[in-house]
Amino acid sequence: MVQEYAHLYDMLSKVQGFIYPNELPLHWGILIVLYPYITGLVAGAFILASLERVFKVHVLKPTYELALLSAMAFLMVATLPLISHLGKPGRAYEIMITPHSTSAMAIFGFVYLWYLMVVLLLEIWFDYRRDFVLWSRETKGIKRWIYKILTLGVTDLSPKTLEWDKKLGYFVTVVGIPSAFLLHGYVGFIFGSIKANPWWSTVLMPVIFLFSAMVSGIALVMLIYMAVSYIRKNPPDIKALDAIARYLFFVLILDFTLEALDQIHRIYEAEESFEIISLLVSGKLYITLFIMQVFLGTFIPLITLGVLQLYKPKEKIRKYIYLVISLLVLVGIFFMRWNVVIGGQLFSKSFYGFTSFKLQLIGPEGSLMAAAWIILPFLILAFLLWLLPPWKKHAEEF
């Protein structure tokens, strides 16, 4: 036995029933769980920001820039787990220069760049341009130069120009909403279009991914808003938190309904793959699906947020509840991605058995590395908040 295959031989002894021999190793591991998770956080955070901007939900104003910067921080990391998972990371650029038009995956680079360059960067730039100019006058040293560069030379602060900033920013947000839908619906399509895999292949997949993205993104902004307020020793605006919680509640209902519909449909039709999938769900996915995703990640938040719509305890208690709920939802959606990505590879496409998966601690596909990919966006966000603090933005003068 060759040492490098030791873990595969170990897996071989854990196979249940029959799998095609090539199906032993899981080809997509924790890094591919992170990919839809992180892109979902981006799309969700952006959609929350858009609520304030486009739909004029002014109570969310304190979280607007925070949501945008969070989306930005996570988007900057979104591709990294993906690239590092490739067998040939050095060839990743090929997906941009020789894209294969029939592949759902080939379009990702373009969707990503569109979202990063056209939507997020532009929206943030239009939102901050006036402050870049003012900050470049107020600050000294290297920061002054960074702000000067960030103005891109557009230092005109006449009311007419500022009005244009607003108009263009608004326009970008309007374009951004369908883009956010596209970004994450499309990630769902990558899985949903694989007809070989009955656990993935459902037309609902893009829609489910989209709504779960909104759920996780809203919870993320809620958590970050509370954390940033705590660090700044500046109590969070409870009205904003209540409003976010209300949106979280509504989107969670939609998300849960769609996922339930998907499962009911599966059970009712009970196609050829039904038996293996029911074994999967009641066996290998029992903890991650029923306990983590459904009970902790969906059921408890849904009930709690539902009760909070009718009865509001004291502010302080509410804040703690929101803290716990946002964490539960974030964990729940992580396991939703886990159940899709890992769950879809545990059963054989022969429908006669299961392979096994054990998350390693170290190594590029290990849990420590995964934790690093999750922590990195928070570090980027800390930097962005240092450079572009929303609380130091100049009040509008007109």
Binding site: L24, H27, R91, A106, F351
Partner: protein
Amino acid sequence: MKSRREFLKAAAIAGGSVLVSSMFRPFNAVVFAANEPANPTDIWYGIGIDIAKCIGCGRCANACKSENNVPREPFFFRTWVEQYTIKNDQSVKVESPNGGIDGFTQSVAPEDIFKTFFVPKMCNHCYKSPCVQVCPVGATYDSPEGVVLVDQTHCIGCRYCVQACPYGCRYILPDKGVVDKCTLCYHRITKGLNPACVEVCPTGARMYGNLHDPADPLMKFIKDHNVRVLKPHLNTGSKLYYNELNEEVR
């Protein structure tokens, strides 16, 4: 002034037509599996496997590994043999220890066996292949003769094709980080030789041939038997035809 206007007009028409025609390309991308392929060449390779003739010796799987330098570990196979045993209670037991290379032993007691048979598996060389469809860089492609091949100098190792193949015929070469699969021994068949698995089969259970030639032995095999492909509901355009394929086989 007039000429400038005409120029602008012409430019607008040209730009507009480019835009409109570009709208059709993505549509092409969507209808991949709904299209019938254009197969311009005279040769259009298919494969025939006669389950009634397979004795489960595993020589095909062994020869394939030798011919194509497939890693010897029991989780890398371009072709392998499965032993199906249907018990009296109609439950199904499938086994393929080391892909059948070391032969088989029957683990079900004889009195419990309803019937048993061997099923050799390999790439189906589908003509509407999901693996070709999903490859993001076009590293997996159809040869003009209908053989699904991989350009390993271009493959980025994303493994999307591994997920998309309904038949489990692809694996990642651990040392190279790129995908590998059956080539129908393209290096041999283009020289008029048999694929290694066909060459060594002692009972003639495996054959390959030209689906465009009515006189080809493969076409006679398809005509004379009730052949079926695996997972026909997936509409992959499989060109691997089995004789005596039980419905239990997936």
